[in-house]
């Protein structure tokens, strides 16, 4: 042990060594299984070492492609999966006993895992060789992402079922991945990210312990299977400290709450997708630098380095990325890992008093917040009461307010906003990916084919068994795998469980929220509201609607809070609404304007549905409609031609500018029609 040097990593034989790079992933999937399979094989060929599968919203929410609510969404934000036949094509020529597969799937994770297991069984692969992760964090779905299907208690039950099954049959599978990623996207501060995701992990582990299905050793192993999916934003030093705080707090929880003795099972294992929230539509080329800096936050410190990394593409604030955009992000990882000396050193920050002090502060604040939630009944209770959700909405509103006032600088957005036009968005495609609307037909035909060929009686029997097991509270993995083999569809599996469990509508994030904003623009819009009231004898009324399956409700909720602050009466009733729901509410509530929020890329189809529904009610020209969300500039003229009065994109970040414009539209419309 003589002359070891502090800047060198030594392996267990005492030889100097270098770390292996983290797993490189690209979140990918689109159009249909055939196209996605081509993309995966090409990505693996480029040196990507793991798969990260994006599913379309219908698959995530438990609908088959042939259902009405699913049709506008087929292949939009990911690949549509209906039956095992789809999975066979998706993984065609991909060795699933070799590749590490991460699936971003939650409400229907049990189903997608069952399909994966059934595929392995059909290929004769030993299940113990399967490696990967089903995201399966329902708490953050209720809080931020919105693709839940069942109520909280039943959602947790399904997660526990999967832990029980996986530990015995697929020991290298991570049945769930506790996500702080989406919390940050929803506005969480570092402390909230730490606290809420650790509460989530505690909620899952407490539920597993309560089922009492493992002996002490197995339970330790099970704790060891809990992995995390974390975000990293622009404040990269704080983010690095947050990762160290995570590691230390998790070790503390594993020891103190669960008595885990083996240090291996107390490791904080995490993957990262860096922040998309801070990416701008303005001067989108700047996002390339942002992504690089965010990647540093989770790779610089060896003690808190991620196990797997996926990076967004520079143009995510515009629309869906193209394969080239994703390749560019992958190259960043490869340059960082292979061209630099990053992987040659032990932890660079060990012993730094600055880092240590920051970490301690984060830990102390996170501990307080965790205790507060546990004292109030735990994670599930904090979902039902809406506590965590409301805290996130407050943080997001504060963040927006800071950007509005310029207190938080965003280059190219609220500072140095003038610049030379980006040549990157100059191409024929406008620099974004477009799903070919015709390609959905292939998915629908494949589903028809499978339904025609499968044994209908077997399907019926398998679904009966699933229902029976669900009612009896049994573990549903085996019944689900049997369904997968029988070519049951995604919608049939989820629909059967919906019948037993019901469907959940959580509290929206708007309760008790307020906006602490006082400026000239607010006074301007309130004056317009007063003009309206004097003239028409009531407050302006707006329906804020989120149609379709896209569950990112925070934008809609922020607009609702802002509209109330401006003086509107706002009708807001949550996510996953049909065009019929929204038009009916607009009519019953006799509103002055309809505001629609859409981020899933299905705006063209959904707006057509909505306009058609308004037409049928004879209200198409009577109620103005405005639209906000991730809408590519190229789509705007066609939307305006359909009758949309204004389109707001991430460029329009000043809430009161938006409200002023909406109020102008309302007043102008009233003046015209009386």
């Amino acid at each position: 042990m003589s002359d070891k040097q502090a800047h060198i990593i030594y392996d267990k034989d005492g030889k100097s060594s270098k770390d292996k790079p983290w797993i490189f992933r690209t979140y990918a999937g689109h159009t249909n299984v055939r196209k996605s399979n081509e993309l995966y094989r090409s990505n693996l060929g480029k040196g990507q070492t793991g798969l990260s599968i994006a599913f379309d919203l219908a698959t995530q929410c438990g609908y088959s492609s042939n259902e009405d609510i699913a049709k506008p969404e087929i292949g939009k934000v990911g690949v549509p999966i209906n039956t095992l036949d789809d999975f066979a094509i998706l993984f065609d020529q991909i060795a699933i006993d070799d590749v590490n597969t991460s699936m971003t799937i939650n409400g229907t994770s049990m189903w997608l895992l069952s399909l994966y297991v059934a595929l392995a069984e059909e290929r004769g692969i030993d299940l113990a060789k399967l490696q990967g992760t089903t995201q399966n964090d329902l708490i953050k779905e209720f809080l931020a992402r919105g693709t839940y299907v069942f109520p909280p208690d039943q959602s947790i039950k399904l997660i526990v079922d999967m832990y029980e099954y996986c530990l015995r049959k697929i020991p290298k599978w991570n049945p769930s991945n506790v996500c702080s990623y989406h919390l940050q996207e929803a506005g969480a501060t570092p402390v909230q990210e730490l606290a809420y995701s650790l509460v989530t992990a505690i909620t899952v582990l407490d539920a597993i312990r309560e089922r009492n299905c493992f002996n002490a050793d197995e339970f330790e192993q099970c704790v060891g299977r809990v992995s995390f999916f974390v975000n990293a934003g622009m404040r990269f030093i704080e983010e690095m400290c947050k990762m160290r705080a995570f590691t230390e707090l998790w070790d503390e929880i594993c020891q103190q709450r669960y008595g885990v003795k083996n240090p291996k099972y107390r490791l904080f294992r995490y993957g990262v997708q860096v922040n998309s929230l801070g990416l701008t539509e303005e001067q989108p080329e700047n996002n390339a630098w942002r992504i690089l800096i965010e990647a540093l936050g989770v790779t610089l410190s060896r003690d808190a380095r991620c196990r797997a990394l996926q990076l967004p593409a520079w143009n995510e604030a515009l629309s869906l990325p193209r394969p080239w955009d994703q390749q560019w992000s992958l190259r960043l990882q490869q340059i960082l890992a292979y061209e630099t000396d990053l992987l040659e050193y032990p932890d660079l920050f060990a012993g730094s008093p600055v880092v240590q002090s920051k970490v301690e502060e984060l830990k102390a604040q996170a501990r307080d917040e965790i205790q507060k939630i546990l004292d109030a009944g735990g994670g599930i209770e904090a979902i039902k009461t809406g506590y965590m959700k409301s805290q996130l909405v407050i943080s997001q509103a504060e963040r927006m307010a800071k950007i509005n006032t310029g207190e938080q600088v965003v280059v190219g957005k609220n500072r140095w906003a003038d610049g030379i036009a980006s040549p990157l968005v100059g191409g024929n495609d406008g620099g974004v990916f477009k799903v070919d609307p015709e390609s959905a037909a292939e998915t629908l035909h494949a589903l028809e084919d499978t339904i025609a060929k499968r044994d209908a009686n077997k399907v019926k029997a398998c679904l009966e068994k699933l229902k029976e097991d669900a009612k009896a509270g049994r573990n549903l993995m085996e019944a689900s795998i049997a369904c997968a083999h029988a070519r049951v569809s995604t919608g049939e599996w989820a629909g059967t469980l919906r019948e037993v469990y019901g469907e959940y509508r959580p509290p929206t994030g708007v309760e008790g929220q307020s906006l602490a904003l006082e400026n000239a623009k607010l006074q301007q819009v309130r004056a317009k509201v007063q003009t309206f009231m004097d003239q028409f004898g009531h407050r302006p009324r707006i329906v804020v609607g989120k149609p379709g399956l896209d569950g990112h409700s925070n934008g809609a909720e922020m607009i609702s809070v802002a509209a109330r602050h401006a003086g509107f009466d706002v009708i807001y009733f949550g996510i996953r609404l049909s065009a019929v729901d929204i038009v009916q509410s607009a009519i019953e509530e006799n509103v002055d304007v309809i505001g629609i929020s859409l981020l899933s890329g299905s705006h063209n189809e959904i707006i057509a549905q909505l306009m058609n529904e308004l037409e049928q009610e004879g209200a198409r020209d009577a109620i103005p409609v405005v639209l906000g969300g991730i809408i590519p500039q190229g789509d705007i003229p066609a939307l305006m031609a359909q009758g949309i009065k204004a389109v707001f994109t991430p460029k329009d970040y000043d809430l009161m500018d938006i409200m002023n414009k909406v109020m102008d539209i309302v007043l102008e419309h009233k003046a015209k029609r009386g």
Binding site: F536, R539, H565, D569, V570, F573, I587
Partner: protein
Amino acid sequence: MSRHPSSPTIAALKNQPLAPDLLQQLQQAAAFKKWPLAKLISLFENRNSDAAQTRHDIARHIQQHPQDFPRDARVIGFTGTPGAGKSSLIAELCRALLQMDANIAIAVLAVDPSSQISGGSILGDRTRMHYGKKEERLFFRSQASNLELGGVSEATFQATRLLRHLFDLIIIETVGIGQSEIDIQFLTDHTFLVMQPLAGDQIQFMKSGIMEVPDSFIVNKCDEEKLARTSYHMLRSSLKQARLVELGALDDYRNAAREQIFLTSALKHLGIDTLAQAVLNIPRRKTAEQCETCYLKKGVQRRYGEFGLRILKNEPDVLTGATTFEEKEFAAQAAIQRHIR
């Protein structure tokens, strides 16, 4: 003259036939066409002084054509703290009522508080009223408590003036346990207080004196039988302290409904049918006339205080011959003005 809506001077009313476009709207509303109905409700909520003439025209038309408006709604209030699950419960109750009675038509008025800072509001009660498809016999309307515009009960009262002629049942949902909720009872034939099990609500209600307002109690979220049983006994002992019931050794939670205690779970569909049956059997207790008198007095008190109320009491004849609420308001104002001059 300020146009502040809470103190408009009431202009003299003309007796004139209902304008053809309004007549058409009213006929369509009576056939449950939702948009015309929604527009008429806006008219009844409208605080501008010129809307009063139109309301007067509509009210007179209805009075003069009773055969066209055979429905005569009973009005039921649901109040209680946020978190008691009122919206989900009302959604389930409506579903049950529509199934039990193939002819019943229901209007729901859901009142949420307005912001004290901006005056705006977020009305979120539709979140639970999610039927997924159009239901003709159910109409749902959100209202803001709109404090500066005369209080929740004013807008709600105005809406019920119209709705009572078009529906069989009006359900009014209010949040909280404040003055608004106490006011709501002046409108309703029956008031339910919705509580959570074991949440200590009862104590709060007793302190605030609201225990004496409701005609019935609902303990919602009784998802398990044990919870229902415990809640029943806890509530009864609270009621005993308030001297509203006698406790007996043989009290059985399964007979709770007999003493106007309902144990429900909107989530698990428990106790909903019992509640729906009770709602269908609720007798009428107030006439439209009585509601109008009550809200007339409230309006007079708001504008002229005790002085105005005293004049109204000493000179009851001033209202004789007034047919609509608007005429009564005008007559009362004229009488009071005579004393001011």
